[in-house]
């Protein structure tokens, strides 16, 4: 892997985890109703 790959991977992992948690909280809220 090149440094560019590591950089893109960091952004994909970081943003993916945060937005994934946003989605999980809202799905839980919707199912809870």
């Amino acid at each position: 892997m090149t440094p560019a790959h590591y950089t893109i991977a960091a952004y994909v992992v970081g943003l993916g985890l945060m937005w994934g948690y946003v989605a999980a909280v809202y799905v839980a809220r919707r199912r809870g109703r």
């Binding site: 440094p3 590591y6 950089t7 992992v13 970081g14 985890l17 945060m18 809220r29």
Partner: protein, 238 residues
């Protein structure tokens, strides 16, 4: 405020956060210059540092809410501490993962047991255990009390993470000097990451309050329901 209005405001909030993220990532990659010694991998820094600072903020909210619970013994403080700890663990995971990717590209290894990295891992473990301990206690009051005491003690690791690279020899940089456009890109990334942290803590807190209200309503319904006439000695319906 009506539920529909709250949902519209929530959607608007996340749209603004997504737009801010798009702008900040564009600034990091298109506006900030490529750093001379580290190259493109230095751009991980624009995400890594704001998420690290917000990890501390989330754990500080957990600490303040824990103190609030110990002071007032109100369930909302406990729900806030739990929400902040969950978000803090998520952000701390992002910090560790982006740091490892940076380390592999810049130092040639995924991990090294330097003081700051070690204290960061300890911080992550402390709050993962906090969530596991909470999950293992059934009594609501006892869970809140144990969580509050733990939440106060666990926060002691945060200053250690911050000071470790400053007070001890460490491969992790303690401070960096940035050119003007780099400072702009870094400041821009603080906006969506801070919005994300606040929004997630509020959303998770509201989910917990919603569940608590639903649970209380269920208990009231169960208490008001007519008792069955034929009940065995073990409580089961015939």
């Amino acid at each position: 405020m009506t539920a529909a209005r709250t949902n519209t405001l929530g959607t608007l909030f996340w749209l603004v956060t997504a737009a801010a993220f798009t702008g900040a990532v564009a600034l990091a990659f298109a506006y900030a210059p490529v750093e001379r010694s580290m190259g493109i991998v230095q751009k991980i820094f624009y995400l890594h540092l704001p998420v690290a600072i917000n990890t501390f903020l989330a754990f500080m909210v957990c600490f303040v809410a824990s103190v609030g619970y110990l002071w007032q013994r109100r369930a909302c403080w406990d729900d806030l501490a739990d929400a902040a700890a969950r978000v803090g663990v998520l952000l701390c995971s992002v910090v560790l993962l982006t740091g490892m990717l940076w380390g592999k590209a810049a130092w040639g290894q995924w991990w090294t047991w330097s003081p700051r990295l070690t204290f960061s891992l300890v911080l992550w473990l402390l709050y993962v255990v906090y969530l596991l301990v909470r999950g293992s206690i059934e009594s609501t009051d006892r869970r809140a009390l144990v969580g509050a005491v733990y939440g106060v003690i666990a926060f002691l690791d945060v200053p250690l993470v911050y000071l470790s690279a400053r007070l001890m020899p460490d491969i992790h940089p303690a401070s960096v000097s940035l050119a003007g456009p780099m400072k702009v890109a870094l400041a821009a990334m603080f906006v969506p990451v801070t919005l994300m942290t606040a929004g997630l803590i509020v959303a998770r807190f509201r989910l917990a309050r919603h569940r608590a209200a639903a649970g209380a309503a269920h208990e009231i319904e169960a208490a008001a329901a007519p008792k069955p006439m034929n009940v065995r000695f073990d409580g089961g319906l015939i």
